[in-house]
């Protein structure tokens, strides 16, 4: 530990002991005349003691450092004191020995005399007539940094008025000036709390008077501010990262956001936790950690696709700095598309989706990137076996404008050297780049520019080349109208594309591609109406332009006939309004309504089919052309987002929620895992939007001073018009895709148990989920029945799922993380028989997903070793060393039968069939 810090601590403690009780002596006198300017209460009292001869007993901490002017002429002591303390909540009593006891109405604060820290500062404050308001005077929003100092907000003159006032500001990281998102800001009595938004902004309405404002955020040291609120005001709060915490300073406050928040099924993980969890190849992976949360499943280790509460992988809205990411996988799904160096935290909404989000049925995964350091240039780099990453950040204009740029690339080609000779010329690589520039125009206006670019390439033996990538850019403008009212306007562009090409056979040489483009505008308004109502409303609109496929000759020798599926365009818009309503201290309601509207637009030619009959090539009755800009089909309707929370006791709450959602874009894939070549399809006259609703109930109980959170959540979910496929569906370059898909419906239900401990040496979580997702196609008018119209499990139906994620911090430089996960094997279609055809024995398939692959079990272990913690050194290093799949278990990814040389062989494919050691070196500068 830093000796300097100890020194300060000891000094402070001693000074506190000596200075804590002050007294003065003198002869009592009846009337006092004082003319003091810019003195502290302490000085004023000393003067009074001198004049009056009374002896004062008080705790210096009760008397804030605010300078006051005292001007009295021949007043009695009691009148002087009354005027001195009026509105401050300080009372005094005088005994017969001319002792005056001055005390706070509330519990005595044992903090340090603030003057010890800030004597110089306080002296410099400009003059004011009455009690001085720092915040206005310094010319900008003051930063409240010290816990025991009393902060005065507003004019003391209003101190006696009843009613509520509003306090707003930013929560910031003290070290970098970056905003802290989702920090919980609350007062105890009455219980009022808010969270800071994605820009770190908070706005809280509290009764006038003295409060203890508590601020908590994951990964940051809990803190509090003593405030005296007279009027609406602003206060920025700086938080320190937890690493800086000294062992002896244990700030024990509530960790009860799970109890108090109304949101259900929300999981938030910060990058620190993500980095602790061992993953294969050692590079912190956002999506892998999300997959370990209760209610989230995946079909296998090489898939970054998430199945949230029985939803398919395309039913998640994956937002990275507000940009929609259509393909979140790199390198065959072994890496996720998010560079851990630029990610701040991840929030997953499984159940109560805020009304501002829409367009997907199952969940919203909101990945927040970091903002650059506004004060200093800094950076970090990491080196792993397969990938390396670098990020640099710093101010462009100090404290105003900052940038952060991060990049990641792979050099896995060396691995391909070991391949058999026919793959010698193969290549596989990816990279991604992130950029965020944030600029504070002034106190009320902030601008954010973010960009993301990712690209994956494979080249098979100089034959077929594959490429896919995301491109995203957006601009956000946050404007604060007043303490109570702020807005965020954002506009951006997202694109996902893939292309495949082969020139091996000159006659068949082709390029095949797909892309999706969207241009969007979002306006979001927050209005803090009162302490019991927070209103959020806004508008989203999104213009889609899809090129569902083109197949063109690669060169002039090719005989390929250019074929292009007609472009699809649509406008998806939504208006929403929600109210966070605190009915009583115990009961809070969140009601949201989102009205979404989808217009499928021309130009386009729509295939018509005979009504009431299955949609097949045979039932096609003709086509209808539509002109550019004409509305071909409109879908829409309300989406409800309702939840309620009832706090039973301090540590126990109940919540219930109901939400509905509509989805107008569908992924077409007949592979179990999300493949890079999956395409997306808009709803059109022949393909209805998906619609789903979910009921959920939860109970939340915290133990041991809120350091242990437990929860039980149950849900029941219905999905309508979910797309499944006919046997033998052709998904690529299909001019009548509607004839190959089936609209099915599904039901999902489950119970999720979670025990979580996020503080202390041992932290982590244990979760268990029982869940089912079943689908059914029993409508003969729709097409062929699947499994005779019976319910059948979806590919990712894994009823039992248990996960333990634990980290033990031996000291600040060494910690060990481990996790263990178990789940039921996923359903699979196994052959039911064998026949002989075309020179070989072959397998016979019948019902879908009637069997299961063997169960999954894996344990991982890693050690995180940090270099020394000297603050002032050029670089900080850390190592991560670990083993993935410690037990070396052959966890099945799939089971399959294949005809080889005329006979059938059954195989079990494991992605990792042994323990995989990894090492990663990280450096910060």
């Amino acid at each position: 530990m830093n000796p300097k810090f100890w020194y300060i601590l000891v000094t402070i403690t001693c000074c506190g002991l000596l200075a804590g009780r002050c007294s003065a002596q003198g002869k009592p006198s009846a009337a006092l005349t004082l003319d003091l300017r810019q003195v502290t209460y302490g000085d004023a009292l000393k003067e009074i003691e001198k004049q009056s001869g009374y002896r004062f007993f008080y705790d210096t901490a009760d008397l804030d450092t605010v300078r006051i002017d005292v001007n009295v002429q021949a007043q009695p002591l009691s009148a002087v004191l009354e005027s001195l303390f009026s509105g401050t909540g300080i009372s005094f009593s005088v005994d017969r020995f001319h002792h005056v006891f001055i005390a706070k109405g509330e519990a005595i604060n044992t903090g340090l005399p603030p003057g010890f820290f800030d004597k110089a500062d306080t002296g410099r404050l400009a003059a004011g007539d009455t009690v001085h308001d720092y915040l206005e005077d310094v010319g900008k929003t003051a930063v409240a940094t010290i816990e025991n100092k009393l902060y005065i907000i507003g004019e003391k003159a209003n101190g006696n008025l009843p009613g509520k006032v509003n306090l707003a500001g930013y929560t910031l990281d003290a070290a970098t000036g970056e905003p802290i998102v989702g920090a919980s800001v609350y007062v105890e009595n009455p219980r009022i709390g808010v969270s800071s938004d994605q820009y770190g902004y908070y706005s809280i309405s509290i009764p006038r008077g003295r409060h203890v404002l508590n601020i908590q955020s994951i990964g940051m040291r809990d803190t509090r501010r003593l405030i005296m609120v007279y009027n609406d005001g602003k206060m920025n709060i700086e938080l320190h990262t937890q690493v800086m915490t000294l062992k002896k300073v244990i700030v024990s406050a509530e960790k009860a956001s799970n109890i108090k928040g109304t949101a259900m099924g929300v999981q938030k993980i910060d990058i620190r936790t993500i980095k602790q969890v061992p993953v294969v190849f050692g590079e912190a992976d956002v999506l892998r950690v999300v997959q370990m949360l209760p209610g989230v499943q995946t079909v296998g280790e090489s898939s970054t696709g998430l199945n949230v509460r029985g939803g398919s992988t395309d039913q998640n809205l994956v937002l990275f700095n507000d940009a929609t990411i259509y393909n979140s996988a790199h390198f065959f799904g072994f890496f996720s598309a998010f560079n851990p160096e630029v990610v701040k935290d991840v929030e997953l909404f499984k159940s109560s989706m805020p009304a501002r989000y829409g367009g997907r049925l199952s969940s919203v995964l909101d990945i927040n990137g970091r903002e650059g350091n506004k004060r200093n240039f800094a950076g970090s780099a990491g080196i792993g076996l397969l990938t390396s990453r670098l990020n640099i950040e710093g101010p462009i204009i100090k404290d105003k404008t900052s940038f952060i740029i991060g990049g990641r690339t792979t050099y896995a080609d060396w691995l391909l050297q070991d391949l058999p000779s026919q793959y010698k010329n193969s290549k596989a690589s990816f990279y991604d780049v992130n950029l965020t520039i944030s600029h504070e125009i002034n106190k009320k206006n902030n601008l954010y520019l973010t960009g993301y670019l990712s690209e994956d390439h494979f080249n098979l033996n100089n034959d077929t080349t594959y490429a896919y990538g995301n491109r995203n850019v957006n601009l956000k403008w946050k404007h604060i109208f007043s303490n109570k009212w702020n807005s965020v306007l954002s506009a951006g562009y997202d694109r996902y594309q893939y292309s495949i090409g082969s020139t091996q056979n000159p006659v068949n040489a082709y390029n095949l591609g797909f892309n999706i483009n969207q241009l969007y505008f979002r306006a979001n308004f927050n209005y803090y109406l009162s302490s019991s109502h927070t209103i959020e409303f806004g508008l989203n609109t999104l213009r889609y332009k899809l090129h569902p496929g083109y197949y063109v000759p690669a060169d002039s020798k090719s005989l390929v006939v250019p074929d292009t599926l007609q472009a699809e365009q649509a406008q998806e818009s939504a208006l929403y309004l929600s109210d966070h309503y605190t009915v009583t201290n115990s009961l809070t309601l969140d009601g949201g309504l989102r009205w979404s509207l989808f217009n499928y637009l021309g130009p386009g030619v729509v295939n018509n089919y005979a009504p009431g009959a299955p949609v097949t090539v045979q039932t096609q009755t003709g086509t209808t052309p539509y002109a550019a800009g004409s509305v071909i089909k409109t879908y829409g309707g309300p989406e409800y987002r309702v939840s309620a929370r009832y706090v039973v006791t301090e540590n126990f709450s109940l919540k219930a929620g109901y939400n509905t959602a509509r989805q107008y874009i569908h992924m077409l894939s007949n592979t179990t895992a999300m493949a890079p070549t999956d395409i997306w399809k808009l709803s059109d006259p022949n393909i209805k939007p998906q619609y789903g609703d979910q009921f959920s109930l939860g109970a939340y109980h915290n133990f041991k001073n809120n350091t242990i959170e437990t929860s039980v959540e149950v849900y029941y979910k219905r999905i309508h018009d979910y797309l499944d496929y006919r046997s033998g569906a052709q998904l690529i370059m299909n001019h009548h895709i509607e004839t190959d898909v089936l609209e099915t419906h599904g039901k999902a239900y489950g119970v999720e148990l979670l025990v979580k401990k996020l503080t202390g040496k041992l932290n982590g979580w244990v979760s268990y989920t029982y869940s089912r997702i079943l689908l059914q196609q029993n409508n003969p008018n729709e097409g062929p029945l699947i499994n005779n119209g019976h319910w059948y499990p979806a590919d990712y139906d894994k009823p039992n799922d248990a996960t333990v994620v634990a980290n033990y911090r031996f000291n600040h430089r060494f910690s060990v993380s481990g996790n263990a996960t178990y789940s039921t094997g996923r359903p699979i279609t196994l052959p039911i028989g064998v026949y002989y055809y075309a020179g070989s024995l072959r397998t016979l398939y019948a019902d879908r997903n009637a069997y299961r692959i063997p169960d999954y079990f894996r344990t991982d272990l890693s050690m995180n070793i940090e270099g020394n913690h000297k603050v002032h050194q050029k670089t900080h290093n850390s190592w991560t060393i670990g083993v993935y799949n410690l037990t070396g278990r052959h966890n099945p990814y799939s089971v399959y039968y294949v005809s080889q040389n005329g006979v059938i062989n059954g195989y079990k494919l494991s992605i990792f069939g042994s323990a995989i050691p990894f090492v990663n070196f990280n450096i910060r500068f």
């Binding site: 296998g300 090489s302 065959f332 799904g333 691995l415 058999p420 793959y423 193969s426 098979l460 077929t464 594959y466 495949i500 056979n505 006659v507 082709y510 095949l512 197949y551 005989l559 390929v560 006939v561 074929d563 007949n670 592979t671 895992a673 070549t677 033998g728 690529i732 370059m733 196994l830 052959p831 039911i832 028989g833 064998v834 026949y835 002989y836 055809y837 075309a838 020179g839 024995l841 072959r842 397998t843 016979l844 398939y845 019948a846 069997y851 799939s894 089971v895 399959y896 294949v898 005809s899 059938i904 059954g906 195989y907 079990k908 494919l909 494991s910 992605i911 990792f912 069939g913 042994s914």
Partner: protein
Amino acid sequence: MKSGFRRWKTYIFITMTCILLCDCVQQYVSPYKSPTTGYLVVEGYLTGNGPTRYSLSRTIALPGDSTIPVITGAKLQVEGNDNSVYPLSEQGNGAYGIASLPLSTSVKYRLRISIPGGETYLSDFVPYKPTPPIDSVNWVYNSNGVTIYVNTHDPTNSTRYYQWTYDQIYEYHPAEASEFIYVPSDTSIAPRSSAQDVYTCWKSGIAANILIGNSAKLAQDVIYEYPLLNIPLNSQPLSVEYSILVSQYALSDSGYYFLQMMAQNTQSLGSLFDAQPTQLTGNIHSLSNPDEQVIGYIQAGTLQQSRIFISNQQLPNWVYLNRCGDPDRIVPNTPDSIYYYFDQIGLNPLYQNFGPSGPLFGWYANAPDCTDCTIQGGTTQKPAFWPN
């Protein structure tokens, strides 16, 4: 495009296997009891300019280690929508056929199958498609061995979907020639007659993969260098002389997709991005139970064939290593030795061994697997079309 994707999947799979240096693919034995199915399986191609042959069998339970039951005694007939009827005759082992049929491209045909015991199956009517001739069967010799390709085109641009099958046959020799033969009747050694020769054999085989291709996305109906098979470098089939007879069939688009689905279900699984195996739907239906699953797709068209030969002499440095497991042994010319080594152990005499002074000392001998080509599954019967 499709095959490219499949190759990619294989590649990924191999990559991962190699990266992790482990046996990530293990044998799997299903713990589930497979139901008895016994569905009808019909395979064949209806043609006018060659023999039409259909074989009938039934599906069996997984893992498929029992014999496939064939259906005998069934009645099969080809019916035209011009009311023509051509019965097929039973050829044994579940096969039914006819040497030639007077089929017409202006008529559609279907197949009626009556199983002994009562059930009758009827296919949909299918057109009789003319198959364009094979332009060429060619091959490329490179470090991966020899890859054989087929080329064809249809100037009328109307065929588009193709299937190929092949019969390959090759000549080969054992490692050593046995010039003599053991005569058990008098425990003696005699020179082999040409009829007793076991030095030259011919081995044949058929394609075990579904070979289909299409030109649906091309401006002209051209199939250019469709790879039929690869013969691994320095392997036995090309050690002497090799021949392949390629048969080409025109398919309907739905018949093509049936075979593509079958191939996808049974030949290309095992990657990270497998398509789900799906139920096959053919064009043969039970008359009494239309939902009954029947494996097979009736298609009709002319048959086109092409044969090529590849001689070892055309392949510089193609060396097939043909070694015996044991070195040659000299068996002394004594009745005991002859009986023991040639009768009891079963060695084959190679050639004579003369002692230093001149008289016959004995015979060089070695085991049949390196002296007798028939042990390796071939036949000494020279095909009629074989050159020289």
